[in-house]
């Protein structure tokens, strides 16, 4: 039993660090650290750098251009990226639709879609949730009717993250309305430029345009865009939902955020002393610190189990709950660190080229929007309550 990295693992970490030192654009890292907006161009630029290095697809098999890394190596890479302020790779293409295509797709589909995903030439978004199908995803109603060599798709998807930039969408659609809930669903790839698709922005409580509604009005989709068998889409959906989730605990993000929070709390003054010396604030910092240690060790135990050949199953639900609650807690402390200056709302200051005067301390401008934005963590990807249902069923047998 040894919780320390081996010399090989440390050498790998050094390699990752050298790469990030040399190749991570400073302007992008600075935006991530300061909580400013990343443009589509920023994300694509970074992902192309990763691809040049051969480090874009962590979870793909090597023959398709994946890294072939072990769970521990993936973990180290994700931790270091978070520490350096590298933007998270957008998951919809590389970590969501691609594994489904690799597992269930035809040879033609693999050749058509995988290279452009690897090189971030095509932007994907996810068409799962609907107004009436959230946690109960199998209740989805968007229908696809086969007419000759096409499906005709009609319905509505919602909470489509960054769909405003997307070239393609992968959708769960109902192809057999008479079958039982899960059994009449198919997995369909749809070009966003197809006539009949309308994207409408949804503005979230922090004033952001991150998610969208996507409407389908008799959209014609070629049958060769079906992945897997017709009416077997639920198998693809489940595979995707349980797919490699090494980063789900967000340990790297929380560590970076806590470090930043401590820096801030050393600078902010309260009663003539740095805020970090305030007994109540320091107590909450200590609480976050120990919970983060517990999360990190639990995550490492899961990573090590995967390394030894175990398949992380419902355990990732524990990590999702613990990790998201902790990240939310840290955003709450940031908000409190800002004090009264958590109130001003200056969305223009979120842009990197903003040259106006900050109101109050510079860090304070984004803390409240971030706090409200991060409420999403315990809702998306299967709400934390759904995760508890999964644990109750899969691990506890209740």
């Amino acid at each position: 039993m040894d919780i320390n990295f081996t010399p090989e693992e440390l050498a790998f970490r050094d390699e990752v660090r050298s790469f990030l030192d040399a190749k991570l654009p400073k302007d992008i890292a600075s935006k991530v650290k300061n909580g400013q907006h990343l443009s589509k161009e920023d994300s694509v630029r970074w992902q192309k750098i990763l691809n040049e290095q051969g480090w874009m697809a962590l979870h793909w098999p090597k023959e398709h251009g994946g890294t072939g890394w072990s769970p521990i190596e993936k973990h180290i890479f994700e931790e270091e990226c978070a520490e350096y302020g590298a933007p998270g790779v957008l998951p919809f293409g590389v970590n969501m639709v691609a594994p489904v295509i690799i597992k269930f797709g035809t040879e033609e589909q693999k050749q058509k879609y995988l290279p452009s995903i690897l090189n971030s030439d095509v932007w994907w978004c996810q068409g799962y949730s609907e107004p009436g199908a959230g946690s109960d995803l199998a209740g989805l109603k968007t229908k696809a009717v086969r007419e000759g060599d096409h499906y005709v798709v009609t319905g509505q998807k919602t909470w489509t993250t960054l769909g405003q930039h997307a070239d393609w969408i992968f959708c769960l659609v109902r192809t057999d309305p008479s079958a039982k809930k899960q059994e009449g669903i198919s997995f369909l790839l749809i070009d966003m430029k197809t006539p009949g698709i309308t994207v409408r922005p949804l503005i979230t409580l922090d004033g952001e345009h991150e998610v969208n509604e996507v409407f389908f009005d008799e959209v014609k989709v070629p049958v060769e865009n079906l992945v897997g068998e017709e009416n077997k889409g639920w198998t693809c959906a489940k595979y995707l939902l349980t797919f490699e989730r090494t980063g789900i605990a967000g340990v790297g993000q929380s560590k970076a955020a806590l470090k930043h929070l401590k820096e801030v709390a050393r600078k902010v003054q309260q009663n003539g002393k740095p805020l970090i010396e305030d007994p109540l604030f320091r107590n909450r910092l200590a609480d976050v610190e120990m919970e983060l240690m517990a999360l990190e060790m639990t995550n490492l135990r899961t990573v090590a189990a995967a390394q030894a050949g175990g398949v992380p199953g419902a355990e990732s639900s524990f990590l999702k709950i613990m990790g998201t609650e902790l990240r939310q807690e840290i955003t709450d402390l940031f908000r409190r660190a800002a004090g009264p200056y958590a109130q001003p709302f200056l969305p223009e200051s979120f842009e990197a080229d903003y040259d106006g005067e900050p109101v109050g301390p510079e860090f304070a401008n984004t803390v409240s929007t971030k706090y409200f934005n991060m409420r999403k963590l315990s809702i998306f990807g299967g709400s934390n309550e759904i995760q508890k249902n999964i644990i109750a069923k899969m691990i506890l047998g209740l």
Partner: protein, 380 residues
């Protein structure tokens, strides 16, 4: 990075596991708990025969040469069985302190006797006014003839009632909470000038208030320089307590899960109710955190001093926080049955909660963590 036990550690785990399974059913434990001694002398001899009393000591004394992970494995097994015997007091706290400070002759005599099951010890460190601060020592010792004469009061000395000898921390110099001037002594528990008031603790163990009045004492190690060794032994004690709590929490979770699957109300097993399912999931989440921090603590004893101190404080604090949740929920989900002395889970709950009152509670260790907040630490 590797969380697997070595072959030797796995054998140790199996040995303890078998002993607890076969020798420690609840009714047998109850009989030992309510006996005059408060535990089983026969069981203690079995520990000796199985080599468990030598885990942290060198092979020269018939020991196992084990460190944090080995103690963790033993203590976790003991936690599963709610073991009553004075292992923490004798082996982990007193024995390792003698091992650190004692002369060759003292070790030869005392450690060999511990390993052989012939000597039971207790660590008399904490004082009535000092709460969890081991540097708050007002007991004093003065040179007297070949040895020392020791005077002072010691509080809630775990298994101090039945110990043959006591390892006592007293001042030979300094004052208040000075780290310098603390010395460790061996005192015969039945010597003149030692009076003990023994009692049962709420979790079924035994302890004593001990008064020393010019009692004859034998110095361990260098005069006034016991603090580092004392803290090393307390660190081992924290690892053992974290592991014991984890073992007990695991059983409390298992028994609660079994109960809600079996107990019927409104025509169904109560485990069908989502409100209870989610609470059960939260208990298991706390157990996972406790287990993670126990491993973290057990593997950190060789880390740089401040890093080690920070991790141990965090581990014991998490155990206090998570333990309370698991204990309270175990009782709650058992309903009225959780309130009964005849229900095993109630005893697990009591031990888990009381572990927070040994070697520093949640508040104490959070204060340590706050003090060490700026110590930079990468977990792996």
């Amino acid at each position: 990075m590797d969380f697997k036990l070595s072959d030797e550690q796995r054998m140790l785990e199996e040995t303890v596991g078998r002993l607890v399974r076969d020798g420690y059913p609840f009714d047998v434990r109850e009989k030992a708990r309510t006996s005059e001694l408060g535990y089983s002398a026969e069981m203690w001899q079995q520990f000796a025969e199985l080599g468990l009393l030598g885990v942290p000591f060198s092979e020269d004394f018939g020991g196992f040469n084990g460190g944090g992970p080995e103690l963790m494995v033993v203590a976790e097994g003991f936690g599963r069985g709610l073991v009553l015997e004075p292992y923490l007091a004798t082996v982990v706290l007193s024995g390792t302190l003698i091992n650190s400070l004692g002369s060759d002759a003292q070790k030869e005599k005392l450690i060999s006797a511990i390993v052989g099951g012939e000597l039971r010890l207790a660590l008399a460190a904490y004082e009535p006014e000092g709460r969890y601060d081991h540097t708050h020592v007002t007991a004093t010792a003065e040179k007297s003839g070949d040895g020392y004469s020791l005077t002072g009061n010691k509080a809630v000395v775990l298994h101090g009632d039945s110990a043959d000898q006591l390892v006592v921390i007293a001042r030979t110099g300094g004052k208040g909470t000075d780290r310098d001037g603390l010395s460790a002594f061996i005192v015969d528990a039945n010597a003149d000038g030692v009076s003990r008031r023994g009692y049962e603790t709420i979790d079924g163990l035994r302890a004593a208030e001990i008064t020393f009045n010019n009692a004859a004492a034998e110095l361990l190690g260098e005069e006034g320089k016991a603090i580092d060794a004392l803290e090393a032994s307390l660190a081992l004690g924290i690892v053992a307590l974290c592991a014991e709590a984890t073992g007990a929490m695991e059983v409390a979770c298992d028994q609660t899960l079994a109960y809600i699957k079996e107990r019927q109300q409104f025509g169904v097993a109560i485990g069908k109710f989502q409100a209870l399912q989610h609470r059960m999931v939260e208990m298991r989440m706390e157990l996972e955190k406790a287990r993670s921090m126990t491993i973290f603590a057990a593997c950190s004893l060789d880390a740089p001093a401040q890093v080690c101190a920070k991790r141990l404080a965090a581990a014991k604090a998490i155990i206090g926080k998570s333990g309370r949740k698991v204990a309270e929920e175990a009782i709650q989900l058992h309903g009225g049955m959780g309130m009964m002395e005849e229900t095993a889970v109630a005893h697990y709950a009591k031990r888990i909660v009381l572990i927070d009152h040994q070697l520093g509670d949640l508040g104490y260790h959070m204060q340590q963590l706050e003090r060490l907040l700026d110590v930079d630490d990468d977990a792996a």
